[in-house]
Subunit: 415 residues, 2 copies
């Protein structure tokens, strides 16, 4: 889950959404969610303590598959990229299904201590709020549906997916919406990510990330003085990038983020590598910045080759695309959004629409209705080692119950 920006929401159209389950069924399900609190927290702790670094989610994934099977989901399997799938059949097995997902991966590298520390109602551990808490919520949802004997009009495909964070580059959900045999079955998509309930992320902030290696011949800082230096082409690119005035209609950003290079203080470097990040919820804005960025690299390489001696070699630069998240927006009038907004509003949450970079970027960019929601009692300091979630019983059960109601109602939308 990436921090998002709030957008205003008009909910007038939301009030006509039909009821999706009989009150008695829902009441039983809600009772189960409340009674299940200790089980859910125990599962949250268990799953958090199974490390899931980027590209190494398999141990946690296998545990989720065991739990999916134990809950009686059908067709439980780990797919070609590591996503864990389990289906809860609905009345109409041929209708387009609702996919409900939470990502397995955390941002934290191997070796990070993921032992959960409890302080009163607060559980501390890296990755606990982003988003192990919603992996536990998926399990609670299934138990509650079963307790309420709820049969949804169409299938719900539960997914614990890989590769949401950083260089994972959404590879789990990317697979589900490309090569996966499930792709034609997905009618809409909800990603549960984070535990602070109230935000509906319906706009996917797109990003284009590059690693650029500026290369040159290198040499002795005194003896070879006057030859081209890749540092100068890099510096010109950074300076030029930060002169770009970003569009203001839709937030658009860039960042010169990491850099490394050089041999020693007395050597002209032969390689400088820099990583850049560009983002916008507007594909046009994003492309405009990217085009300028790529031109800046070419221009600054050419300028350095023109400015200094190239007899030992020229400067070159190779921009390598290391991240590519598509942008887009699920329209605010889509029933998925109006349903979620209605239920959040009824629960007293200040529902608002937002733009962020999440697993929903992929279906949104394909025109498939998708939103990202949270489930739980509040979470903070995502991506920081002091990450934590609030699990005070009342707030937590209310948050998870509201999320549950959105899933049940969304499964009643006709696609």
């Amino acid at each position: 889950m990436k921090p998002s920006i709030a957008l205003p929401l008009l909910l007038a159209a939301a009030l006509a959404t039909p009821a999706v389950a009989q009150p008695a069924n829902l009441a039983a399900a809600h009772a189960k969610l409340a009674a299940d609190y200790d089980t859910t927290i125990a599962e949250l702790i268990e799953l958090t303590e199974i490390p899931a670094p980027p590209f190494k989610e398999n141990v946690r994934g296998l545990r989720m598959a065991e739990k999916f099977k134990a809950l009686g989901l059908t067709d439980v399997h780990v797919d070609a990229v590591g996503n864990v799938i389990g289906i809860r059949p609905g009345k109409n097995r041929t209708a387009k299904a609702l996919m409900v997902a939470a990502h397995l991966d955390t941002v934290f590298p191997e070796g990070t201590n993921t032992k959960v520390r409890r302080e009163g109602d607060t559980l501390h551990a890296p990755g606990i709020g982003d988003t192990t808490v919603t992996l536990a919520a998926l399990l609670a949802f299934v138990r509650a549906m079963d307790a309420g004997k709820i049969v949804t009009p169409r299938d719900i495909i539960f997914v614990a997916n890989v590769g949401e964070e950083g260089q994972g580059d959404l590879r789990g959900v990317r697979h589900l919406f490309s090569a996966s045999p499930l792709k034609p079955r997905i009618g809409d998509f909800i990603s549960f990510d984070g535990s602070t309930v109230g935000r509906i992320t319906n706009a996917g902030v797109g990003s284009r990330r590059y690693r650029v290696a500026f290369k040159g011949p290198g040499g002795h800082s005194y003896g070879a003085f006057g030859i081209v230096n890749p540092m100068v082409a890099m510096a010109g690119t950074v300076s030029g990038l930060y002169k770009i005035v970003p569009p203001t209609d839709v937030k658009t950003t860039y960042s010169a983020s990491t850099v490394t290079g050089g041999t020693s203080v007395n050597s002209i470097p032969n390689e400088i590598t820099m990583e850049f990040d560009m983002r916008s919820a507007s594909p046009a804005n994003l492309q405009a910045v990217e085009t300028q960025f790529l031109k800046l690299i070419a221009d600054n390489v050419a300028a350095e080759n023109a400015a200094r001696d190239t007899r030992f070699g020229k400067i070159s630069a190779t921009p390598e695309l290391i991240g590519d998240r598509p942008a887009g927006t699920t329209p605010a009038t889509d029933p998925l959004i109006t349903t979620a907004a209605r239920i959040l509003g009824a629960g007293g949450y200040s529902s608002e629409l937002g733009a962020s970079s999440t697993d929903s970027n992929i279906p949104i960019s394909l025109g498939i209705p998708a939103i990202t929601l949270s489930a739980g009692g509040g979470g903070f300091r995502a991506h920081a080692l002091d990450e934590y979630v609030n699990v005070e019983r009342g707030a937590f059960v209310k948050g998870i119950t509201t999320a549950f109601d959105i899933v049940v109602a969304a499964a009643d939308i006709k696609r």
Copy 2:
């Protein structure tokens, strides 16, 4: 060894230098140097393949100490900073000695592949020419003196010293001319550095080296977009530095050499650290460039703080002086220079005086006669990964023999 600039030399005064050893002794020594070719090349390869990164010369140093001992040098030891010392006693043990040194360290970091690749008469490997080739030459010198039964008028102190390159900042030789108990014994100093024979470096190029940490608040690349980025202040400093047209009266140089910083591709960095090198044999030129450089840092920090949001913190930059090599000149009339010039001239080398930044900077700045010479068949691309030396038998033996004759003759100078 730093590539040097040529200065004209008048050698009229050089012709009166006395002979230093009987022709028969020298002939036997020269025969040994020729016969020793394969051994010397084998030792060059062996030593090159023992990595000696800055501050990590100890393994190569211990191997040199073993070789010094095996050759029968006396008082062989590793001193307080890692220099390897071995003395070849002369007739007069109390006269001021001649110190003959070559540095152990290379510019290449740990993990650099130092495996030697041979292509005909060319040996390729990082550090082979700067200056493993002269470490091997010191060993050949001792074998040749022994073969010629040469007893020099005074002691020769052989040294394989640490810390010549980069951030080593001449610490090995600095120690020999400050805290070392050998200091009062040193009458003059020859550093053998590099394999292209013909140049006499008698002027020490001064250098000022800085590590600059550009710091800022850092943050999320999307969420915190608009805040100040230390990368921009760094980039502006580099761009500005490379717009400086250096003085042409005395060669003056600058280099933006190494850089590192940043947290992740999706974070605005909170710290970028860059290392810079500035040099000149003219103290005034050096100071002029340094003054402009320091102003560029301050100006670019101020510009970035003015250009972007500082609510979470401002950009700052702390220039730390990490290298300060004194400049100076050994007079062209000193017998050390006239002796070397005479022998080079007799060998048909276009002997010329030069300015460079070498271990000799330290004794030169203290008024102790010192020069830096080369020994071997030619070397190129120092400080580059494709560094190489030419070891064609004829040129190599001639080069090392000429260097040897200079050492033997210099040991006959009265100090």
